[in-house]
C-alpha cells in the first residue's frame, strides 16, 4: 500500500515535470545540442595571430629570429613596417595582434656575444590570448638564443627539454569542455526541477491537499527528488552517445560515472529543496536557484583555472560539489583514472552531499 502510494507520487511528478513539451525539449537541448555546440566551438586554439615585424637590422640573425617566431602556427607574418608608429596604428585598429621590433646591430651584438634585446608588443585586449602569445614569444626567443649562440655544433649540448603533455597531447579544449558542459547541464537541471516541483505545490495551494491525504512527509520528499535525479542520470546517456558520434571518445568506467553522478546529483537536488523551502512563489524560486547556481557553476574550474584564483576563493571551491565532480570525471575520462586515484574527490563529494541532503530533508520535514 505504502509502495503504491510512493509509485503514484513519483508517476505524478514525472507527468507534471514532462507535461510541458517546451521543458522536455529544453532538457534535451541542454544535454545534447548545447554540449555539442560548446564542444565544437570552444576548442580555443590560439593560432594564426597576426605578427608585424619592424626589422631595423636586416641581418641573417634578425631574419632567423622572425623565422623562429613564425615557425609554428601560433604567429603568421602579416606585414613588415619601417617604424613603430606605423605598426602601432595597425595594432590599434586590431589589424595586428603583436609586433616584434628588432633593433639595429642585433646580429652584430649577438656575434660579439653581447646582450641583445628585442622589443615585442602584444595586444592585451584579450588577456586570455595575450598570455598565450607572451608565453610563446618568451619560449621562441629562448630557443632562438640557444641555436644562435651555441652554433650548430654545440646544438646537442645543454639542457634538452623533453616536454610531454599528458592526457591531452594535442592540447585541445574539446574533451574537457564536453565534460564541463555535461556536469553543468546536469547541475542546472537537478537544482531547477525539484525547486520548481516543490514550490509549485506551495504557490498553487495544492500542498494543502496533499497534507490531508495519507501521504507522509518522507514519501512526498522521495517522490519529489526521485524524478529529477532519474531524469538527470538518464540524460547522461544521450550526452555520451552524442559525444561518441562526434568522435570525442569517453573511455572510462560507466559504473563509476553513474555512481559519482548520483552522489553529485544528491547535492544538487539538496540545493533545489533548500531553495524551495525558503521561497513561496515560482518566480522567487527560479531567481534564487539562479543566484545559487551561478557562483557554483563558475567556481567549478571549468571556465578558469582554479590555481589562478585568490587563496580564499580556492578554499571556497573546495566546498563546491561541481568542482569535485568535474575533477573526478575529467580524471575518469581524460586521465583514465580509477577509484584508486579518484577517491579523494569522491570522498569530498560524499562529504559534501550527505550533510546537504540530510539538511534539506530536515528543512523539508520542518516545513511540512
Amino acid at each position: 500500500m505504502v509502495r503504491g502510494r510512493l509509485y503514484g507520487l513519483i508517476a505524478k511528478e514525472f507527468a507534471q515535470m514532462l507535461r510541458d513539451p517546451v521543458v522536455l525539449f529544453l532538457i534535451f537541448w541542454l544535454t545534447t545540442v548545447e554540449v555539442v555546440m560548446c564542444t565544437m566551438a570552444l576548442g580555443f586554439d590560439v593560432k594564426d595571430l597576426k605578427l608585424g615585424v619592424i626589422d631595423h637590422d636586416r641581418s641573417a640573425a634578425s631574419r632567423a629570429l622572425v623565422r623562429e617566431l613564425t615557425s609554428a602556427d601560433t604567429f603568421v607574418l602579416h606585414d613588415e613596417f619601417t617604424s613603430m608608429r606605423q605598426a602601432e596604428s595597425q595594432l590599434q585598429r586590431g589589424a595586428l595582434d603583436a609586433v616584434v621590433e628588432v633593433p639595429p646591430n642585433f646580429g652584430a651584438r649577438i656575434a660579439a656575444g653581447r646582450r641583445a634585446s628585442v622589443g615585442v608588443v602584444v595586444d592585451g585586449s584579450n588577456a586570455n590570448v595575450a598570455s598565450r602569445a607572451r608565453a610563446y614569444v618568451v619560449e621562441m626567443t629562448a630557443s632562438f638564443t640557444r641555436e644562435q649562440l651555441m652554433g650548430s655544433m654545440a646544438m646537442r649540448a645543454g639542457v634538452q627539454p623533453v616536454v610531454r603533455v599528458w592526457y591531452n597531447p594535442d592540447l585541445t579544449n574539446t574533451r574537457f569542455m564536453a565534460l564541463g558542459m555535461l556536469a553543468q547541464a546536469g547541475f542546472m537541471l537537478a537544482v531547477i526541477l525539484p525547486a520548481a516541483g516543490m514550490v509549485r505545490e506551495k504557490q498553487n495551494g495544492t500542498l494543502e491537499q496533499i497534507r490531508v491525504t495519507p501521504i507522509r512527509a518522507h514519501e512526498l520528499f522521495i517522490g519529489k527528488v526521485t524524478p529529477p535525479i532519474v531524469i538527470c542520470l538518464g540524460s547522461l546517456f544521450p550526452t555520451l552517445l552524442v559525444l561518441r558520434l562526434l568522435g570525442v571518445p569517453m573511455n572510462g568506467s560507466l559504473t563509476t560515472l553513474v555512481g559519482l553522478d548520483l552522489l553529485f546529483l544528491l547535492s544538487a537536488v539538496s540545493i533545489g529543496v533548500f531553495v524551495a523551502t525558503i521561497t513561496t512563489t515560482l518566480q522567487q524560486a527560479m531567481l534564487t536557484s539562479f543566484f545559487g547556481l551561478f557562483p557554483l557553476l563558475f567556481l567549478s574550474g571549468s571556465i578558469a583555472p582554479i590555481e589562478s584564483m585568490p587563496a580564499w576563493l580556492q578554499l571556497g571551491t573546495e566546498i563546491s560539489p561541481l568542482r569535485h565532480f568535474i575533477e573526478s570525471i575529467s580524471g575518469l575520462f581524460l586521465k583514465g583514472a580509477g577509484m584508486g586515484e579518484l577517491w579523494p574527490h569522491a570522498a569530498a563529494l560524499a562529504a559534501i552531499s550527505a550533510p546537504m541532503f540530510l539538511t534539506s530533508w530536515l528543512l523539508f520535514r520542518r516545513q511540512w
Partner: protein
Amino acid sequence: MKLSRMLAFAHKEVLEIVRDPITVWIALFMPLVMLFLFGYALSFDVENAPLVIVDHDKSAASRSLSNQFLNTRYFRFAGAPEDERVAEHALMQGRARAVLSIPPGFGRRLSRGEAAPVEFLVDGTYASTASILSAYGRAIMYAFPSGTLLTPVQPEVRVWYNPQLRSRDFIVPGLFAVILMAFPPLLTALAVAREKELGAIAQIYASPLTKFEFIVGKLLPYVAIAALQLAIVLAAGFLWFKTPMHGSLALLAALGLVYVLCTVSIGLLVSTLVRTQVAAMLVTLIVTLMPSFLFSGFVYPVFTMPEFFQGYSARIPTMYFVNISRGIVMRGAGLAELWVNVAVLVVYTAVVLALATWLFKKRIA
C-alpha cells in the same frame, strides 16, 4: 493607445515587483555578487601552478634548475618525491599540474658539454594552462646556463591596453555585457510567464489594454530595473575594482541603456513563446546566459571559433556590447571606431521589439 492606461499598467507592474522583496533583493544584489566573484575569480594568468620535482641527480646543477622553475611566478613547489610513479599519481589526482624530472647524471653531462635531457610533464586537461606552462617550461630550460658563456637575447615583451595582463581589467568591461544579458531578460521573462501560468493574463486579455500598451507597460519597469543594474555594475566596476577607464563614461552609459533595452526585449520575446516559468527560466538560460558567457568573446575569443559558430556569435547582442564596452574602457574608442557595433545593436533591438509585439497574441476573450 492611451498614455494613462499604459502608465497604470506599468504602475501595477512596479507594485508587483516592489511587493516581492526577494525578487528586488536578487535583482539588485545578484549582479554585484557576480561582478565580485568574477572580478576576483576569473583569471587567465597562469600563476602558482603546483609543480612536482623528481630530482634523481641531486647535483648543484639540478638544484639550480629546480630553483629556476620555482623562482618564476608560474610555478610553486608541490613536493619532491623519489619515485616517478608518485609524481605521476599526483598529476592524475590533480594535486600537481606539472612534473619536472631530472635524470641521474644531469650535472655531469652538462659540465662535459653533452646534451642533458630533462623531462617536463604537463597535465593537459586544461589546454590553455597547459600550453602556457609548457612554453615557459621550455623557455626556462633553454635559458638554463649550460657551462658555455651564454648571453641571452632578451625579449622585452610589452602588453598594450592591459600592461600587467591583469585579467580583471579585461574581465570587468566584458562582464558589464554578460551581467546585463543574464538578469534583465530573466526577470522580464519570468514576469510575463507568471501571469500566463497563474491565469492573470486572461484578465489582461479581457481588459481594453492594447498589445502595444502591454508591451511598453511591461518594458518600462524592467528597463528601469535594468538601468539601475547598469548603474550598480558600472559603479562597482570603476569604484571598487578601479578598472582603468580610457574612454567616455557618458558614451558607455548611453550605449548601455540601448543594450539593456535590447536585453529586456529579448526577455519579453522569450515570454511570448513559453507558457510556464520553468520553461521561461530554461529558455533564458539557453538563449541569453550561456551564449553570452560562452560565445560573446567574453572568455573565448570569437576568432578561435569555427566559422559556423562565429556566425552564431554574431547573432548574440552580447558580442557587440562586449566589443563596445571593451573598446571604450580599454582602448578609449569612440563612436567613430564603434559605430558598426552600435548600429547592429540598435537594429537588433528594434527587430526584437517588433517581433515580441507581433508574437504577443492579444486574444479577445
